[in-house]
Symmetry: D2
Subunit: 134 residues, 4 copies
């Protein structure tokens, strides 16, 4: 019902994850390293790297049509939120803030769609995404 994410929503979430991966990675490795100073402070730079990594992994789970993507998307949403908040404080990171906010929203919805609770139980693991509405 309302709790089931459609294929369209999942494709959009994959888009957001790959866009956020790309934005975080590129800004960290070009803008942040070139700018130096507060842009290479440990907390900020780790968040940028963490965010790019979990976005890439969340996309990978959804591309694998895995019924276990919900909890990975929940983790991705949390990291994206933390990265967006931190980038706002650092400043001059608007593209990153925007990409993280959009990805967090989409991943949060995805994490609720199939229910992050109970992932890993035998009932849950038999869920097939082949049954999703188009």
């Amino acid at each position: 019902m309302h709790a089931i994410s459609s294929r369209r929503e999942m494709q959009q979430c994959i888009d957001e994850c790959l866009h956020c991966y790309r934005t975080c990675k590129e800004m960290a490795m070009s803008h942040c390293l070139q700018a130096g100073g507060r842009h290479v402070e440990p907390e900020h730079f780790r968040l940028m790297m963490n965010c790019s990594e979990i976005c890439r992994t969340a996309a990978d789970f959804m591309l694998s049509t895995s019924p276990l993507h919900a909890q990975v998307c929940a983790a991705c949403a949390a990291v994206c939120d933390a990265c967006a908040e931190n980038c706002e404080q650092i400043g001059e990171m608007d593209d990153c803030v925007q990409a993280c906010r959009a990805c967090a929203l989409s991943c949060h919805q995805m994490s609720e769609s199939l229910g992050a609770i109970g992932v890993g139980t035998s009932r849950q693991s038999s869920t097939s995404l082949g049954n999703l509405p188009a």
Copy 2:
């Protein structure tokens, strides 16, 4: 206090994650593909791929000394549990079952150590792993 994971525990969890990544990847791509039949059924094979991917990512977060590793470890524990359960049903996957069980246990402890709840909040994201007891 007792809820804080030491560096030693984290290094062990990284070991377990990389070992589980390696075991799942190698068994899926050699044993399962060669054996065919139930070993390449979608649910089983997806779990093997998902498990190797999230184990690699959880290790990456811990190697990055990220304070956000707790929720990623929680997701990793859930996927490892699901993979272990499924591999037991498939049979002839003892190495994989063992690696998944050990990794799930270690990741579960790691996810509780810093608290998966509240990850992404400003308080949590300012936590530094540099303060961990050795």
Copy 3:
């Protein structure tokens, strides 16, 4: 000179790599696993997994504005060519063939642009992509 890839060409190659990663991963984990038979034969399935992995890595190198991307793109082009050829033999893999061919072409050009030869030497490693024409 003519051998220098512009930023525009690199952004397009990143696009092609991420599209090929996505296509190979999704077709392998949904279409191939569901279809079974020749679609899960070891050689074919390994190529699909290898191709998605190296495409993701090649994109990562280019996003890192690394002067060492040339040799990774060369490896990516070789794997994409092998995957495209194999997918044509298997049949019913048109999207994958198309994505692999486009990615191989783009990566091949990228691997020639800065010269795969000499990567890792002190001269090469001091090359900065910051000097690339826009």
Copy 4:
């Protein structure tokens, strides 16, 4: 014959790659970010990130028993050599230098074992690692 890598050599190369991935990632994200200064200069930090990424990918190809690992190992050897050389110039990076040198040596041997030339041709892609001597 002598040009064929045994399973034992490949397992050792996987060990070296995962060790080098782990060392580069951990030193970059803890030691380099904490130390700042020359440790976060763009060229050095990018090499550390590039090296960890390609090591992880080279390990993944070998774990997949892919006949296409030779060219990926060649790229890995080149990046490891560049990273080792750069880390020696930066100083205080002994663990990283050691891990990169060992990995470069092992990957270089692996890239020669099956022949990096001709990877992606139909003859090469039909090679099965299942025939490797133990």
